[in-house]
């Protein structure tokens, strides 16, 4: 119980830290979204600058402490301000528009990469020195490759040269999102390439962890006992060796789920995919502080939540972690 309370306490402090960093970033940086907006729409009346400052919540009125209180108050009401680059959209609306794209693309890709990597890791460890195990260095190479390079290569070969898959955007231009066949099939076609590149570059990490841990569990006496009993091989692999080796991967997976919300920024940039990562990039490059802050906050909190989930999974799955907690 003390353990749980401590962890919860930690996440509260971490959340506070993320919120506070978020508060200070635009205040420490040069540049000004109001100036950016005024520059974009020439000919606004001079007093509109003041109005906009208030609206963005960046007006430097009152002491820093006072601003901090207002910021916290707004946050708890779910008010993240108004985006300056997508003016007059609310930040929450903009995030709501891009988040589903990211969740669908990066979420699916993460799940597939996890399953694929874990399975391959199991087989590589079981057949130690077999062809799958020997091919690990190739997978390693993919891990060390800059992601966008894989993305560019995929676009060059499959999209520009062969024209198998479209690239750019989340669906064909002019389609509005909805549950109809035209939109869904177009969105699927546009997501195959980015999803594949994410999987290719990330499955090796899962595979390696799984293989390394499983090599350790295969050496345990209970696996030998299972073999001696004459249990079917499949049962030994999955119910004995893999089951005890999968813990680090499961914990990693719950973390990865949190990072799904962060989006695959480079993927979305290279493929011009309308997700939260690309939106963060656009917000930063167009000095849109409220939107930047909002997206960063959503990402931070999602990751904290995922860490909490990872902790919970660990405690539920591993009796030793429970002992550690009570000791």
């Amino acid at each position: 119980m003390r353990f749980v309370a401590r962890r919860l306490g930690f996440y509260l402090v971490a959340a506070w830290a993320a919120i506070t960093i978020n508060f200070f970033i635009p205040r420490l940086m040069p540049g000004n979204p109001v100036a950016a907006l005024l520059g974009k729409y020439q000919g606004l009346p001079p007093d509109s600058a003041r109005t906009l400052e208030v609206e963005f919540g960046i007006g430097h009125q009152g002491t820093l402490l006072h601003q901090y209180w207002i910021y916290l108050g707004n946050l708890f009401q779910g008010n993240l301000g108004v985006s300056s680059s997508q003016y007059p959209e609310k930040v929450t609306t903009v995030i709501g528009q891009v988040l589903p794209w990211t969740l669908a693309l990066v979420g699916t890709a993460t799940v597939i990469a996890f399953l694929l990597g874990t399975l391959l890791g199991i087989f590589a460890a079981w057949r130690r020195g077999g062809w799958l195990d020997q091919s690990l260095p190739v997978a390693t190479f993919m891990q060390a490759t800059p992601y966008f390079f894989v993305g560019l290569a995929a676009i060059e070969v499959l999209s520009v040269k062969l024209g198998v898959f479209p690239y750019g955007g989340g669906s064909a231009i002019g389609l509005s999102p909805g549950f109809n066949w035209t939109f869904l099939s177009s969105a699927f076609n546009h997501s195959v390439l980015p999803a594949t590149t994410i999987i290719i570059t990330s499955f090796a990490g899962w595979m390696l962890t799984m293989r390394n841990v499983m090599i350790t569990t295969i050496g345990e006496d209970y696996v030998l006992a299972a073999q001696a009993k004459g249990l079917p091989r499949r049962r030994i692999i999955f119910s004995y060796a893999a089951r005890n080796a999968i813990l680090p991967n499961i914990a990693g997976f719950s973390l990865a789920i949190g990072y799904v919300v962060a989006g695959a920024l480079l993927t979305e940039y290279v493929f011009s995919y309308p997700g939260i990562g690309l939106m963060l990039y656009n917000a930063v490059t167009s000095d849109d502080y409220p939107l930047t802050q909002g997206i960063f906050l959503v990402i931070s909190l999602a990751i904290l939540l995922a860490c909490l989930l990872a902790d919970a999974v660990y405690v539920l799955a591993d009796p030793r972690a429970r002992t550690r907690g009570s000791a």
């Binding site: 077999g130 060390a144 800059p146 520009v160 390394n212 050496g219 480079l266 990402i299 904290l304």
Partner: protein, 343 residues
């Protein structure tokens, strides 16, 4: 009733290493290849700018980007700039940035990790709280936000920001190892003889963490290089001073893909991948050195899971069935293993 016993991660293997030339011979093949490639890059970083045949920024009026040829070995950009020169000049900045960030982060990690582990108590709690907060902050988005708003980010500023977000994992690993070492007999003996705390830390503890520190250094260097290339590619650093990422930025922004100028983005991309791979290979090599179970079998495995070594004239049965007192965990999970022991 059960008692929780903490087994530290496998003690660093450097103790078993012979000195001098034997040290290189003892390295796994992976690490040798990695060091060789990395050495090549370091040479280019030192001599590259002098070897560059052209000024990397000098433009020529050309109709289109030229493919690799004898006058331009790696081809040109669509401004007629020589790509070989850009790459030769750019590697220096990429390497320097990676090593600088890795050095700062490693120093931070050692300071925080050793202090937390050795001093313990409230200091430990506080330092680990800060470390864990840095671990859960989303690094890439935060980097993009910070670097996007800093005007004209130079190499040093980028390296500092990168290392500020990259030290936390190393600090945690080093703290765990320090905790384990602190309770060893030889450290207790040193303490009894009245050695000062800094001396114990500098001469008894840190030398036994060298392999962990080295692995952490390589890890941060890899992260710093890949991230800085990505940030430059996104145009968030100074795009007028050459690095491999900047070459890629211009390739992307000038539409090298649409122009079919594959050499413009593929060659710098492969160069980064090779550099990254050399670091990964070194780290795997160091892992195998420290964890014998991961070592290359160099042969095949038969049905019973016995390893048959080739070329040494003997069937060697790896003693994998023997009970091992020290359970090695994979180095990828460096947290101490907790097992239950009957009193």
């Amino acid at each position: 009733m059960s008692v929780a016993v903490t087994l530290e991660p496998p003690p660093a293997a450097q103790a078993a290493l012979p000195r001098g030339r034997g040290r290189w011979a003892a390295l796994p093949l992976k690490a040798k290849i990695g060091f060789a490639i990395l050495g090549l890059y370091v040479l280019i970083a030192i001599f590259g700018p002098t070897l560059a045949p052209h000024d990397p920024s000098a433009t020529k009026i050309v109709t289109q980007a030229a493919a690799p040829s004898f006058s331009h070995l790696l081809g040109t950009t669509s401004f007629g700039q020589d790509l070989l020169s850009q790459v030769l000049v750019g590697i220096r900045s990429t390497i320097v940035l990676g090593l600088l960030a890795a050095t700062i982060a490693t120093v931070l990690a050692v300071l925080v990790g050793v202090t937390a582990g050795y001093v313990g108590g409230a200091v430990d709690e506080l330092l680990m709280l800060v470390t864990n907060i840095f671990l859960v902050l989303p690094a890439l988005p935060l980097l993009i936000v910070i670097l996007g708003y800093l005007p004209h980010t130079g190499e040093i500023a980028t390296a500092i920001v990168l290392s500020a977000l990259g030290w936390a994992w190393g600090a945690r690993v080093i703290r765990a190892q320090t905790l384990a070492l602190r309770n060893r007999d030889y450290v207790a003996a040193a303490r009894e003889t009245g050695e000062r705390a800094w001396r114990i830390i500098a001469f008894e503890i840190i030398p036994n963490e060298v392999s962990l520190i080295a692995a952490g250094f390589i890890g941060v260097a890899l992260y710093a290089i890949l991230t800085s290339v990505a940030l430059a590619f996104l145009g968030l650093t100074d795009v007028n001073s050459w690095s491999i990422g900047v070459v890629l930025y211009w390739a992307q922004s000038q539409g090298a893909l649409e122009l079919g100028a594959w050499w413009w983005w593929a060659i710098p991309g492969v160069l980064v991948a090779l550099l990254g791979m050399s670091l990964v290979l070194i780290n795997y090599g160091l892992d195998e050195l420290g964890n014998p179970r991961l070592r290359e079998t160099g042969g095949r495995v038969d049905d019973r899971g016995h390893v048959i070594l080739r070329g040494r004239g003997a069937r060697v049965q790896i003693v994998r069935l023997r009970r091992r007192r020290q359970r090695h965990t994979a180095v990828t999970d460096p947290t101490p293993v907790v097992i239950e022991a009957r009193p």
